[in-house]
């Protein structure tokens, strides 16, 4: 079968890691008899350099007309890049926000788990890690402070800036449903994170999540305040299965969660709409400091491509083959620099891609 994939290499290490993901996908295609057809789309800094804007209408259309999107990373070094000497809506990250909204990708799924093989890189002590942890953060991605009205105005000579945090029942319900659906395939536990002791939007959030929970009697739902969750992630990460939360809290908590794994170069993510359409990307950023050196870790992108096969194309067996290939290579001791320890075999970005492709 043919699958049309919009590929967005982006900036920094983006093109390198996307290259390796394509390499592995192509191998999967030839082994299992699929044709993965790629259309390259510019977004972020490279689009600014080429077209003057971080995402063109045409680029968005190409993404819309594809079966799924595979993204590397966008953005540069904020302190040192000319991309940031302009209004925020013209900067690389604005492309990311536009494509999320434009494709209605309201459900951001970010797994964070401890790789047994890489436990040495986890910043938490062994007694905290316990039997390990394996959670999924379900972050609402097209609402809240990110997309509310905002303005800066002068009143009596004093500038005031306002951002708006807004959620309606429909927005909350659809992301809650996604969280409960995922929980059903996992340990059947949802912790919904909010700040209901202060925010009206959090109280509506809690109410709607409670309603959705009624349709999933097998799933245990509890609520946690966001400040407490920031603590619990560090003290007892093993207690989490699915964390369900709004956009800004999800941004903060998912980064914290990915960091406690010690392996941010390994974590994939998916952003989905109501149907099976999704944009898949590594959880990490564009790492401009190591771009072009052939040392970046391509595994998070390769695993994101595996998520794409599973969630958007229903190619579960193929996805598993990719994940197994990654595991095999890790077990054989191959490591890029970010996850290298004493006794491992150090490999480059392209070597890592080759090794994984060979094992499909």
């Amino acid at each position: 079968m043919n699958y049309n994939i919009a590929v967005i290499p982006g900036d920094g290490i983006g093109p390198e890691i996307i290259g390796e993901a394509r390499k592995v996908l192509d191998k999967v295609g030839s082994v299992y008899g699929h044709d993965f057809l790629y259309k390259e789309v510019l977004m972020g800094g490279i689009s600014i350099d080429t077209y003057g804007v971080p995402l063109t209408e045409e680029a968005l259309e190409t993404a819309k007309n594809s079966d799924s999107v595979l993204l590397g990373a966008v953005g540069g070094d904020v302190g040192n890049s000319k991309w940031y000497d302009v209004a925020p809506n013209l900067r690389p990250e604005a492309g990311l926000l536009s494509i999320r909204k434009g494709l209605n990708l309201f459900a951001n799924i970010r797994p964070a788990y401890l790789y047994k093989e890489l436990a040495a890189a986890c910043p938490l002590k062994e007694e905290i890690i316990g039997d390990g942890f394996d959670m999924v953060i379900m972050r609402e991605l097209t609402g809240g402070l990110y997309f509310g009205d905002r303005f800066t105005k002068e009143v009596d000579g004093v500038m005031t800036a306002v951002d708006t945090l807004s959620y309606n029942e429909t927005e909350i319900r659809r992301i809650a449903i996604k969280a409960f659906e995922i929980a059903m395939k996992r340990k059947k536990q949802v912790i919904s994170v909010d700040k209901a002791n202060v925010l009206d939007s959090s109280r509506l959030w809690r109410k709607v999540v409670e309603e959705v929970a009624k349709d999933y009697p097998e799933v245990t739902l509890s609520h946690m305040l966001v400040d407490n969750c920031a603590m619990q992630l560090v003290m007892n990460p093993g207690q989490f299965d699915v964390i369900l939360t709004e956009n800004m809290f999800g941004d903060i908590l998912s980064d914290e969660a990915s960091m406690i794994t010690g392996s941010i170069g390994m974590l994939s993510s998916a952003s989905m709409n109501e149907s099976k359409f999704g944009m898949y990307e590594p959880s990490h950023g564009s790492a401009p400091d190591i771009a072009g050196k052939n040392i970046a870790n391509p595994i998070a992108t390769i695993l994101s491509a595996a998520m794409m096969l599973r969630y958007s194309f229903d190619l579960d067996e193929e996805a598993k083959a990719m994940e197994k290939a990654v595991e095999a290579v890790l077990q054989e001791g191959y490591r890029t620099g970010d996850i290298f320890s004493e006794g491992n075999i150090r490999v480059s970005t392209t070597e890592m891609g080759d090794l994984i492709a060979e094992r499909i």
Copy 2:
């Protein structure tokens, strides 16, 4: 001299830990010749039980007319307490928000540092801790999402809830000045945390902080995005001296920071207005599960009282005496249950207070 202190024991372990702080203050008074005069004020659940509201006008007036406020903790077990079966503005925590706003306590100072003696309780690995860490979070406390307009309304049969995040230059400037002033007495480094790649309020925040920085040429200022800060606290806490941030980000990050110390029962905090007036309280909560058992750790409250002597009363020597007494007791091996390890001497709340008072 006479010092009039409004004392708010609050709920849960509040009365117990406040009792020990008063015990130690009284000893300081008798040794150094000061009269600390206490006026008890009800706030939180106990005020709800007595007056039906979490903070009465009279209570706020008493606090206003005092020289400073010493607070235990407010709130109960959200899942199991009748205090929470009412509208949010009638719950215990609403008293806390009202007193912060009513006393104009815009500057929340939360130190987070690793106690060498208690490093065993820190959840981070030794190589992450390095030479230890010692930071102060300066959190804006009377603006942002906490105090913006909010409402829930029905549009076309769908409920929508809105909260507003607003900051003006004046609010940002005064908290920034406090942060730079504190940095001048420390390692002269301020990291201002925002989400300037998304929020207008964060961009104004960044601009005003940059302006204030010009008056402190000796202080190094840098900016960090809130999601990155949540990661950096776990990966490299030693890099922080003073973190300056807005209300909601400060809520999340200060809890994360206090948890990585592993000693939340030891951390004090102060909330100040423009002058020397302040409210002092432990960083931890009311811990209803261990209330009334004489096992809570009173040290955070005792150290908060020491902060009060230093910041509100300019009694630096007396503050140091309190801090030294705490150190001495720890070095001698005395511990409440929360910080107890093999080989220590386990003591109760009141015993800990006695031991510290004796060493003044």
